[in-house]
């Protein structure tokens, strides 16, 4: 290298010989350029033009249909849903990813372990969106034994309301009343009450059915023992009044039945006030002693049936905005499916590092003197950030924002991999529609091409902006 460098100072400047033709001078240069230009012409430029042509033809690309496909785009509910979702992505994602990137980039300047921190945040960019989507799919899983989000929700929920020993499952329409079988009727607030009136010295038997075998096994339920009468006391039994050997026999204890342990029962006076409460033993028996004369009912409290935690179906399409009562088109345009939120969170995890790197580079290049002048003038940190740093960073923030807008206009992999089958339709985007219409199932190349052309038109402003920036 040094030898060449000194050579250049010694030797005369190179002359371009006049007698050689233009081709002679530029031939090699053009040969160098040719592979790139030809490749781009064949696989990028020509196909883009061909797509515009395809978009004017019918589904088998044989008959010219004019702008018919474009009209179909705006009347096909699948594609309207895709537009809606793309709009949600564009409105939410670029803003948050830029904001988080900015905050993290500003704060990172103050810590000693900045290199490690940056590596942690940037790492997800190098993962495939496919792999990341699969990870986040388990994170948001409905089952709290799989999904960490629902596991956290369950822990928090259990602090506030303890599920009962016999939790009902409201999603299948189960109620306490549906368990009542023998000598039991519904009481107030979801409790069950003995049908018969009882007096001190009586023994009462109450039968329930449809109790899960797993629950009984977990609670260690034993064969029920008929309650013995005791003077001055009310004794009783609550049992699972169902056995496979005699399915139609209610009201008496037969083999194969179990007592219901751990049930909280209370004694109600004739006014309905609770005068005592106790818990059944493993055979399902309970007793209230020293009961004052009078007539009573025995109640099985509603807390026994408090449903257990039902997770949030993050990957589902239930809408965050109210859409019930609207027709289908209005629904597809106005609903905000929960899975969009889950996917946007996951996508921020992937791309925040990108925003941080760019904004971090912008911060490093800032004119420190301006910052210090503002500091001396007594600006506090928040003012410094809002009035000085952010305006000075405006160009780089715009680059990040625009890049992310282009990115989410094309968002594809995360939906295909993160949305379960039932949510694919409600979560679809333009890029996914192009793939589905153009390459899977009933192929409609005309419609897919029309959507592709629209997608292209949407990125044209960004293209112009790029060109303007480069031209200066």
């Amino acid at each position: 290298m040094t030898a060449i460098a000194t050579g250049s100072t010694k030797g005369p400047p190179a002359k371009v010989s006049r007698h050689h033709g233009w081709w002679r001078r530029n031939g090699v240069s053009l040969v160098f350029l040719a592979p790139g230009v030809l490749w781009l012409a064949a696989i990028v430029v020509y196909p883009t033009i061909a797509t515009v042509r395809f978009s004017l033809y019918d589904e088998t690309a044989t008959k010219f249909v004019g702008l018919h496909n474009y009209a179909s785009v705006f009347s096909t509910s699948e594609i309207l849903t895709a537009f809606k979702n793309n709009i949600i992505w564009v409105l939410v994602f670029p803003f948050f990813v830029t904001f988080i990137g900015l905050m993290v980039a500003v704060l990172t300047e103050r810590i000693r372990w900045a290199t490690a921190f940056k590596a942690i945040i940037v790492m997800p960019i190098v993962f495939s969106t496919t792999a990341s989507a699969l990870v986040w799919r388990t994170i948001f899983d409905l089952d709290p034994h799989i999904g960490v989000v629902n596991a956290i929700e369950q822990t928090v929920s259990d602090w506030f309301r303890t599920p009962g020993a016999y939790p009902l499952n409201p999603s299948t329409g189960e109620t306490a009343a549906s368990l009542a079988t023998f000598n039991v009727t519904t009481g107030s607030g979801g409790s069950l009450v003995s049908h018969a009136t009882v007096h001190p010295g009586d023994a009462v038997m109450m039968g329930l059915t449809r109790i899960s075998a797993v629950t009984l096994q977990t609670l260690g339920a034993k064969f029920p023992v008929a309650p013995t009468k005791m003077a001055g006391a009310i004794t009783g039994l609550v049992w699972n009044d169902f056995s496979t050997s005699q399915p139609n026999n209610t009201s008496t204890i037969v083999s194969g039945e179990q007592g219901l342990p751990n049930l909280r029962v209370s004694l109600l006076s004739s006014t309905g006030a609770s005068v005592g409460s106790t818990v059944t033993d493993t055979s399902g028996d309970f007793s209230f002693s020293h009961v004052a004369p009078g007539s009573y009912h025995v109640a099985i409290e509603s807390s026994n049936f408090q449903s257990s935690f039902v997770g949030t179906f993050w990957l589902g399409s239930q809408s965050l905005t109210p859409v019930s009562g609207l027709d289908q088109t209005a629904q597809s345009l106005l609903s905000v499916p929960l899975i969009d939120l889950a996917m946007i969170i996951s996508y921020i995890w992937i791309w925040a590092g990108f925003a941080m790197v760019l904004i971090g580079a912008g911060l490093a290049a800032l004119n420190r003197e301006v910052l210090e002048a503002a500091e001396i003038d007594g600006a506090n940190e928040w003012q410094l950030l809002r009035k000085v740093t952010i305006p000075m960073l405006a160009p780089v923030l715009t680059v990040v924002f625009v890049t992310m807008v282009i990115n989410v206009l094309k968002v594809f992999d995360i939906i295909l991999n993160m949305a379960p089958g039932s949510s694919q339709g409600p979560a679809t985007t333009l890029a996914l529609t192009i793939y589905n219409d153009g390459f899977t199932g009933g192929v409609h190349s005309g419609l897919a091409s029309a959507v592709a052309v629209i997608l292209f038109l949407l990125v044209v402003p960004a293209m112009m902006w790029n060109l303007k920036k480069i031209k200066g």
């Binding site: 960019i125 699969l134 596991a151 991999n417």
Partner: protein
């Protein structure tokens, strides 16, 4: 120098004191953020190290209290399957077969084109460059359908249909890697002094020799950025591979994972283990060449 620095640090410390947002608070905030960012990756690793039977019965976080459940079993199963078609290792090889040629071709063709655009003497270079910059944001979805048709026609005319083959995927990827590649290389090459080239010419070197003996060695940092960026981009692609290779016997890792999740009996042990294998390669590339990767990200902000 160090004095200036300490003065600055002093100012900064005073400022922070005034605001109450102490270094400790910032450390705590960023610590929480870092943990949040690590959880998904850690969960993936842990799931891949647990037996399938544990997946639905207890959360992966139970390893913190019962680390004995960790096992290499899933990995030994994958390696015992070897390179049989449809396995993880077969997909790993297919991913490499696609990614390596694309990376090399994009780096070479972009460097040649950028050399021509920077050091050529013909008119219209700037115009061509602007068109290429414009192509950077073209969504590849726009080209898919016609290219599939184009491939079929190649098959009809020459009997060589690249559709459904690895070269077909490579051709498409190279095309969409070139605009950014040429952009990045041109920006770098404009910084190389022309005197160096003239010197080479005087010593009688032809253009090709000047290109690969003078310009290429100088451009290595830019080529490294481009290559890493391109490698990771193609390695992680799902859409192009799905369109041109979907249903093939040999598929890259992204399609392997996608197929696994779509199968009715989703086997989480193979999904998680396959995902770890799939992120392993780009992670090595990333940590080995972090500096170049970040440079590529900065240059590629418009992609």
């Amino acid at each position: 120098m160090s004095q200036v620095r300490s003065v600055q640090e002093g100012k900064r410390a005073r400022l922070l004191k005034r605001l109450g947002l102490s270094r400790a608070v910032v450390n705590v905030i960023l610590g929480v953020v870092a943990v949040f960012w690590l959880v998904p990756t850690i969960s993936l690793l842990v799931i891949s190290l647990r037996p399938e039977s544990q997946f639905g019965t207890s959360g992966w976080w139970s390893v913190f209290t019962a680390p004995s459940q960790l096992t290499w079993g899933n990995y030994t199963t994958i390696f015992s399957q070897g390179f049989a078609a449809g396995g993880v290792l077969d997909s790993l090889v297919t991913s490499l077969e696609i990614t390596m040629p694309v990376t090399l071709l994009v780096a070479l063709i972009s460097s040649l084109a950028a050399y021509s655009l920077v050091f050529g003497a013909w008119r219209g270079r700037d115009g061509i460059f602007l068109v290429i910059v414009g192509l950077m944001v073209v969504p590849l979805q726009v080209a898919l359908i016609p290219v599939v048709q184009f491939y079929r026609e190649l098959g009809n005319i020459f009997g060589l249909n690249p559709y459904g083959t690895i070269p077909g995927v490579i051709i498409f990827h190279v095309a969409f890697g070139l605009p950014f590649g040429i952009f990045l290389m041109r920006n770098f090459l404009t910084g190389i002094p022309r005197d160096l080239l003239e010197a080479g010419r005087i010593e009688g070197a032809g253009e090709w020799k000047i290109f690969y003996q003078i310009v290429l060695p100088l451009a290595l940092p830019a080529i490294a950025s481009l290559a890493i960026f391109q490698f990771i981009w193609v390695w992680n692609d799902l859409l192009v591979a799905l369109v041109f290779l979907g249903g093939n016997v040999h598929t890259p890792l992204t399609i392997f994972l996608y197929d696994q999740t779509r199968s009715l009996a989703a086997n989480y042990w193979i999904i998680s283990t396959g995902a770890v294998v799939s992120i392993f390669v780009p992670l090595i590339v990333f940590f080995s060449f972090q500096r170049y990767f970040v440079r590529g990200v900065l240059a590629g902000a418009v992609k």
